[in-house]
Amino acid sequence: MKKRSAKGQIQMFETVGVLVIFFFLLMIGAVFYFRAQNTSLQREGLQASNQRAFQTTLKALYLPELDCSFLKMQKENCIDLVKLQKFQEFLEENQNNTQVMQDYFTELGFASITVSELYPQERHPVLYDNPPDEFTDKIVKKSPVLLYDPLRDEYGFGIIEVDVYV
């Protein structure tokens, strides 16, 4: 009787042991799978943020507030220096105007835009600066751009830098 009882107990332990190992393996598999999913999601999130940064750069380059307009025709990839200066002043003056900041926030989001002139002179005015209180990463897009000086009727060379916060 004792022998049969011990045999039953051993069998029970064996079965439990098998199940434990089984679930252990399942859990390891699940952890790996969800980690992979997480990484994939993070990568997708980064791609989406990159896309957003690219779109913000495009929007900044095509803003009517900055574009080079000649008899109502726009020159591509060009920023008017006088408009840049006046738009900068406009945004500074309207820091406390909710409607203005809301309008440009919905257009440009949490970002910083700097237009650096490299030639013929060096200047680095910050046009738009709206970082969030907290952010995990910053995507930086830099693109060469023509800078038109209407007073001299000349084109300078500049770099527009758009930093998008994620």
């Binding site: 799978y33 994939s40 030639y119 013929p120 060469p144 000349e154 084109y155 770099i159």
Partner: protein, 167 residues
């Protein structure tokens, strides 16, 4: 444990392992390659640079843009002797060389931190303007832009870009 139980358990383990393996395989195989996207960005960057460069007005040269300087230089002789002269006494070829060199160094050397090779073909005088930083002998992306000098006469402006090498 009976033999049958052991066998069934073994089968179950195999099924689970195969299923997990398939899942990972599907996840890996369906990922888009990122290398292509990066290469396209670099080519666009090169094209953007050339486009902007051509439209830039050069200093002290009668309001000519870099395009205008290159067009004038392309018609000169190989020694740049017959090129037009800017307000500061330099030839259009010298002015083009200096401006392009400055902008390449500022843009890719300092700001974007990339190695480059810039050169032109189609005219002996223009071919003398050849600038590089690192040279991009290996993997690189390129942007090429034909510039019209006069009807039927084009020169090709080429820019290679690559990641900075350790020097």
């Amino acid at each position: 444990m009976s033999r049958a139980q052991m066998e069934i358990f073994g089968l179950v383990i195999i099924v689970i392992l195969v299923a997990l393996g398939l899942l990972f395989a599907v996840a890996v195989l369906t990922k888009k390659p990122t290398q292509q996207v990066q290469q396209m960005t670099t080519s666009v960057q090169g094209a953007n640079f050339l486009n902007t460069l051509m439209g830039t007005t050069a200093r002290d040269c009668h309001g000519l843009t870099v395009r205008g300087l290159i067009q004038d230089c392309a018609l000169a002789d190989v020694n740049w002797n017959s090129a037009s002269v800017c307000a500061d006494g330099k030839s259009t070829c010298e002015r083009a060389n200096a401006t392009i060199s400055f902008l390449l160094e500022k843009t890719f050397g300092e700001v974007l931190k990339k190695d480059y090779r810039f050169f032109m073909s189609g005219s002996g005088a223009a071919e003398r303007i050849s600038l590089e930083r690192g040279g991009c002998p290996n993997e690189r992306e390129s942007a090429v832009r034909p510039e019209l000098v006069r009807p039927g006469f084009y020169i090709n402006v080429t820019l290679y870009l690559c990641d900075k090498t350790n020097r």
